[in-house]
């Protein structure tokens, strides 16, 4: 029953919301902790790091003329103190399991700390700055491409579902396997054609060097640089996306209530809006939200091919440098974004679909 007291309803909604939040939080904590353990190699990485510190400090002493005159014993003693100091600074003298709890606490509090080796272009070693510097580039490129693909494929899929079996429909189905190749694959060809054979567009980067001074010229330059990577991503995913949405709409447009709407004499536009799109809004929304958070992280190879200064490249470098704070920082932010998205989706579902009840089936 949809009835019940208003105050009771509010309490139910509140309890549901809190329970949901708690569950999501636990998920985030588990995910982040696993990342911390994995990024540290379950503590195995400590030995590696200790050896690294030892060799770096010994080398530094060997190179330094100031210590030339010391006896080997004295020098070794100095080196040992220096190593111990560095190990204490990085807290390598404590067992990993204790440190991991601390790391978890800091990560959950979004206290992402400092990187070990990497730094931002501005020279900062704060993980926030390092990630924050790359984020806009990734969001711009992947946001543009994915939004384009998403909306054009839904629009086109609806159009095709009305023309099931037509020549256009069949050719889209036939073109779907083009998506087997990733975006960077098409990127290489696009660069070859449009940057070298017919040199009209830049082959890589995000903005011309030196960067244009006026905002308009800067924007235009970024736009020109974006064209090829966006096109590469668009080509690689548009057909499979249209194909799957078209099949999705075909399934839902053979529902009995759609046929009924047709018999009722509703105009095709209205049938599409009220009887096909409206009931299927929850899954469409889910796919949209997951697409949005999928932007986070970018794509490593595509960014490499187009020399795009995004998060994909950053993660690649961070893994190469074993810069755990950067890796963990990125994962923590992603985990939070994912949790918030799922939470918002839960609420949206309840608003959009009357069948989704709070207790899951506790209706008449």
């Amino acid at each position: 029953m949809s009835g019940g007291g208003t105050s009771g309803n509010i309490r139910r909604v509140l309890v549901f919301t809190l329970a949901r939040l708690a569950a999501l939080f636990v998920t985030v904590v588990i995910g982040v902790y696993l990342t911390i353990v994995i990024a540290h190699g379950g503590g195995e990485l400590d030995d590696l790091r200790k050896a690294q510190i030892r060799s770096e400090i010994s080398e530094a002493f060997a190179m330094d003329d100031e210590f030339r005159d010391l006896t080997p014993e004295e020098r070794n003693k100095l080196i040992q103190t220096e190593i111990e100091r560095e190990e204490t600074r990085l807290r390598l003298d404590e067992p990993f399991i204790y440190r991991s709890a601390d790391y978890l606490w800091q990560a959950i509090n979004l206290n992402l700390g400092h990187s070990e080796q990497m730094h931002s272009d501005g020279g900062s070693r704060r993980v926030y700055h390092i990630i924050g510097e790359r984020l806009p580039a990734t969001l711009l490129l992947f946001g543009t491409a994915n939004l384009l693909v998403f909306f054009s494929s839904i629009f086109f899929a609806l159009f095709l579902s009305r023309r099931y079996g037509s020549r256009l429909d069949r050719s889209v189905v036939a073109l779907a396997p083009t998506s087997a190749a990733p975006g960077w694959f098409y990127g290489i060809f696009l660069i070859l054609v449009f940057a070298f054979l017919i040199p009209v567009l830049p082959s890589g980067g995000m903005v011309a060097a030196p960067p244009p001074v006026t905002t308009a010229a800067y924007a235009l330059s970024v736009l020109k640089h974006m064209l090829l990577p966006v096109a590469a991503m668009f080509i690689s995913s548009i057909f499979i996306s249209i194909y799957s949405w078209r099949t999705f709409f075909l399934i839902y447009s053979s529902e009995d209530y759609v046929e009924m709407a047709r018999a009722k004499g509703l105009p095709p536009r209205m049938i599409e809006r009220r009887y096909i799109l409206r009931p299927t809004l929850p899954p469409i929304l889910t796919s949209f939200a997951l697409m949005l958070i999928g932007l986070w992280g970018g794509a490593i190879i595509l960014e490499q091919v187009f020399n795009w200064p995004g998060l994909g490249t950053l993660m690649f470098e961070a893994i190469g440098h074993r810069d755990t704070p950067v890796i963990i920082g990125a994962v923590v932010i992603f985990a939070y974004l994912l949790a918030i998205t799922v939470f918002l989706l839960d609420i949206m579902y309840a608003i959009l679909d009357p069948r989704v009840r709070l207790e899951g089936g506790k209706h008449s």
Binding site: M260, A263, K264, L266, P279, P354, H363
Partner: protein, 327 residues
């Protein structure tokens, strides 16, 4: 050409609906002709798969996607509605003149729109009413079909099967169309609800002067409301008679066997079954389509007979009634 008889509401001539399938063409409705008078209930009987539901879809011009051919002539009040363009047909015929209760009525309601809005929707659409006015009018129809008015604010999943069936019926009646096609409106319901809905239909027929095409395989329930009976077999009409004649004295051999198969309450007569199966709709025989199962089969049956008029207004597709053979 159709003679515009004042009491003829719908006249169908040579209606065809053929489907394309992997195995060939299925002739679900194959050259069906009949007429329906004002304020008349015609029951279309037949086994599953004989083309009853396809007939309904062809009349409302909502053929499924795999349709190969949907043709024929249909006149409504003397107007050719098959020749109309789609837009004109949608605006002037669908729901304003002919409405329909679909076979899968349980699933015929949009799950995310309140029942009242769905029932009132055709009024806003076809009469341009405001939604308040439409809802107010719909409330009257809800009472007529026996749904409490506060159910209008509910969603379909909050209604029982019987209530949903009534809601779909209310939707079909809300624009007061001259013809309502009911495709198995009660087959998924328990007997009490069935009886209830049949009573509602009878009342509406009496009070609103509506004509009905009731498609069913349930002989007993249909006898409640039928004025005339059309019996279909393998995509064609095999008998079209007054209900009294049909139920008391079925003419076609298939009709006779069908009536003998209906169980009666507390009688010692055992219901008979008809041996054999209807022909595959993919390859219908050249001759009479019932010949294989017919006990009265004779040499004439290698050709398919036309509908023959007997006793004035009965029509039978059987060589037994050819002039001179049987009086």
């Amino acid at each position: 050409m159709p003679e515009t008889l004042t009491d003829t509401l719908l006249r169908v001539e040579g209606l065809k609906l053929h489907y394309r399938t992997r195995n060939g063409v299925v002739r679900a409705v194959d050259d069906v002709s009949f007429d329906i008078r004002r304020n008349e209930a015609v029951v279309v009987l037949g086994e599953s798969g004989c083309g009853k539901s396809s007939l309904a879809k062809a009349l409302l011009r909502i053929p499924p996607r795999n349709t190969q051919e949907c043709s024929g002539k249909v006149w409504l009040n003397g107007t050719d509605i098959m020749g109309m363009n789609e837009e004109k047909f949608r605006k002037e015929v669908r729901w304003s003149e002919i409405s329909m209760v679909m076979q899968a009525a349980m699933n015929a309601l949009n799950p995310v729109v309140r029942v009242g809005e769905q029932v009132a929707e055709p009024l806003c659409l076809h009469r341009g009413w405001s939604s308040e006015r439409a809802l107010k009018h719909a409330a009257g129809i809800f009472s007529l079909v026996g749904i409490p008015n506060d159910f209008m604010r509910r969603y379909p999943f909050e209604l029982s099967g019987g209530m949903r069936q009534r809601a779909v019926l209310a939707m079909a009646l809300v624009t007061e169309p001259s013809l309502v096609i009911l495709d198995e409106p009660t087959s998924a319901l328990d007997v009490l609800t069935q009886a209830n809905i049949m009573n509602v239909l009878k009342r509406i027929k009496r009070e609103m002067g509506t004509s009905f095409i009731l498609i069913t395989h349930d002989v007993s329930t249909s006898s409640e409301i039928a004025d005339r009976v059309a019996l279909m077999y393998a995509g064609q009409l095999v008998e079209f008679s007054n209900a009294d004649d049909f139920f008391r004295n079925p003419a076609h051999p298939y009709s006779r066997l069908l009536m003998a198969s209906v169980p009666r309450l507390r009688q010692v007569i055992r219901p008979e079954h008809i041996p054999g199966q209807p022909p595959s709709m993919l390859s219908v025989p050249e001759g009479c389509r019932f010949a294989d199962r017919c006990p009265s089969r004779f040499e004439r049956c290698v050709k398919n007979p036309d509908l023959l008029k007997i006793n004035g207004d009965r029509e039978v597709r059987c060589w037994l009634y050819e002039k001179g053979l049987k009086s």
